[in-house]
Amino acid sequence: MADRKRTAASAAGGFAVLGAACLLATGLAFGPSGAQEPPKAPAPQDEGAPQDIQVPAPPFTEGIFPCTQCHDGKTVKLNTTRRKLVDMHDDIVLQHGPASRWCLDCHDPQDRDKLRLASGERIEFSRSYLLCGQCHGDKFRDWRVGVHGKRTGEWNGKKQYLLCVHCHYPHAPHFKPIKPLPPPVRPETLRGEKGAQP
């Protein structure tokens, strides 16, 4: 046990040295242009949403939120039996993950206005990326640094971002095919106005 601890400590020391070397190298590489610091993009955070980035509200179906309008424990009683829904929400055909998956794996049974992580933690719909990130860790990591998904705004400043569910309908997340805009005109049919002046 003590042995293992020592190894870990020395490994950490090694990383520190490596890190210092990297810093030095970076300093050298960007030294000449360093007279004026390049504008910085916001640094990615460790947990949750990327810093300084506005994420728009979740794309709810109109009139459906808050869910506790009906799921208040009285109007609609909690029923934790896996079943095919017939009275309500029968438009949802779940095409996401294994067949055994169902509503209450993600929606919190006690508080329907919240989502539920595997750990049991309740989260707001506006932080649904945490839920998606449980399985899609690689995508989540890329999303946080701005590589997966779409960002708009400023490359060196304020950005807007989208939630996973803005592009991927959570009940059937595969990106839907769309109609392409028209192809370019073939060069042989390109015709300017004859004798037209600039």
Partner: protein
């Protein structure tokens, strides 16, 4: 026989008058040519005709040039069009990355670019070309199809590779321009001075990416569709006979904004940023993803990268 010396003797005299009259003729012709050139360019003012290369004019001269252009554009389009001169930002080198595993070939970028950058609608000019390729064959330009037009994209078995200016660090187009009408700016963007371009199209022949486009006809840009926020070296309206190209939306990126194609793409395929900023998205991609350069063997050293985000 006797005629012969006579003719020869007469020659010097005649030649004398001949050459002086030729000189006179050439002088007259010269004036006439300038007049004809000016008359031929109906809309070309004298100021425009004698305007020097963008990189040689003084700040004061630039002001008059901008004022003249804005007046011309206002008259032509019936609304205020601003021509900006935003300089390159210090410590910034622009880079672009395109995720081949995401692009669905929808061409939103193509038309978003046309709208932002005031390309001619007819004859049609587009700076982005999306190539459809076979997944089986991989990146194979010989068999790429830019004219695909199915009901829905992406199509089974295909992937899509948009091509536009690669903003090469070693740009062949700049090298071949005989008049210095195109050059690379300190932030890495290759630009064209449309008022200096002579339309020889050497740059188009030199570009291995087909990224340069020529105004064969008078560009048609409906006034209601013009983007009035322009840059001198970017999306200001062009005229017949000049070459144009993608500038990473110089009018936007020098004001800190993303290029139009980045913002319009529905799949988040397009990534943009400062190559000198270790925290930028673009640096993350270069350091963590599988990246390739298109036609790397030509040593053009693009600042436009393709990657697989998967």
């Amino acid at each position: 026989m006797s005629d012969f010396p006579e003719t020869r003797a007469a020659e010097p005299e005649e030649a004398g008058t001949g050459s002086s009259s030729r000189r006179r003729f050439l002088a007259t012709a010269g004036v006439a040519a300038v007049a004809a050139a000016l008359a031929g360019c109906k809309n070309l003012s004298l100021e425009e005709f004698v305007q020097r290369n963008f990189r040689e004019v003084s700040k004061d001269e630039l002001k008059t040039i901008i004022a003249r252009l804005e007046k011309e554009y206002a008259a032509k389009f019936g609304k205020k069009v601003t021509v900006g001169l935003e300089p390159p930002l210090p410590g910034v080198l622009f880079g672009y990355a395109l995720d081949l595993s995401r692009c669905i070939g929808c061409r939103r970028c193509v038309y978003g670019c046309v709208k932002e950058n005031n390309q001619s609608r007819d004859p049609q000019i587009q700076w982005i070309r999306v190539l459809q390729m076979d997944k089986e064959a991989g990146v194979d330009i010989q068999h790429a199809d830019p004219y695909y037009n199915p009901e829905l994209v992406p199509q089974e078995g295909h992937f899509y590779m948009p091509v536009q200016c690669h903003q090469c660090k070693n740009p062949p187009c700049v090298k071949v321009c005989p008049v210095g009408a195109t050059w690379q700016e300190p932030d890495g963007i290759t630009v064209v001075d449309y008022n200096w371009c002579i339309g020889c199209r050497y740059c188009m022949a030199a570009c291995p990416y087909g990224a340069r486009h020529f105004n064969w006809g008078a560009p048609h840009l409906p006034p209601e569709e013009i983007n009035p926020a322009t840059h001198y070296l970017g999306n200001r309206p062009r005229s017949k006979g000049v070459v144009e190209k993608c500038t990473f939306c110089i009018q936007r990126v020098r004001n800190g904004r993303y290029p139009a194609c980045v913002e319009v793409c529905p799949t988040g395929t397009r990534k943009f940023g400062n190559l000198l900023d270790p925290q930028s998205e673009i640096r993350y991609i270069l350091e963590n993803k599988r990246v390739f350069l298109f036609k790397e063997d030509l040593n053009t050293q693009p600042k436009f990268f393709y990657f697989y985000g998967v």
